[in-house]
Amino acid sequence: MTLIAHAIVAAPPALLSSDGLRGRRLAWSEAAAGLGLWSTEWAPDMKLERPDAIEHHRLVERICAAQPCLPVRFGTAFASADAARASLDKRSEALHAALERVAGKSEIALTLLWREGPALAEPTPGTGPGRRFMESRKAEFNARDSRRARADELVERIVAELAIERPLVWHETCTSASVAVSLAVLVATERALERKADLERVASGFGDVIPVLNGPWPPYTFARTE
């Protein structure tokens, strides 16, 4: 039997229904260091599929609603409960610290999508193909640099206007042609909707991007221990 890991919590475990992925048993494995792992008992020959990822998310939401939890990266499997316990014991100090950091908090996600494609300068008319190529490359680089600078500026404005402490925000800029900013904020769960509305208010004031708000979610982005 394999265990598909969902979330780490401090012992004792909250009372949860025993339904794991695809209705299989949700198991609790308690380590020596006062930590435990919620996981689904899984058959080694069963493959995880896309809907399992979403169901894992729902399970993590359920666990985190019941007690402070650290979501485990989807796809993490253990050959046995002993292997799971050993893994927790090995990093118990860091896991306890991470649990303390995210206790009572949730994650709000903000994605800013560019409204339009980049503005590219036209090559000089009447020039040869070599120069046109070079000018076109230069225009692309300039547009990319300009977008990166604008994305950084958007992040700074959000952080400043909402007075977010730096350790509570994570962001990446220009991760694809469409995405200007991907940002996550760790907020107190009881104020999550209020903070989400604040983020929406600030982000909707930017004319060149479309804000997409998500969450509150379990604190995926802030659960790292390394």
């Binding site: 485990v72 990266r73 989807f74 659960a223």
Partner: protein
Amino acid sequence: MKELTAQDATLLELVDRLLNKGVVLTGEATISVAGIDLIYLGLNVVLTAVETLEKSPVRRAS
């Protein structure tokens, strides 16, 4: 290039968190979703592969 909608962005942000965030424990196995190895899927790859994920459950990312 397919234009990214708000719905795509929501899905991609969630998938990114499930696959790339959260605690990494030792002893984990690389398991695949729809034939694509999870651990190696970054947001950028997911962005280009979102249609593949939707339409082709057996295709493997190289």
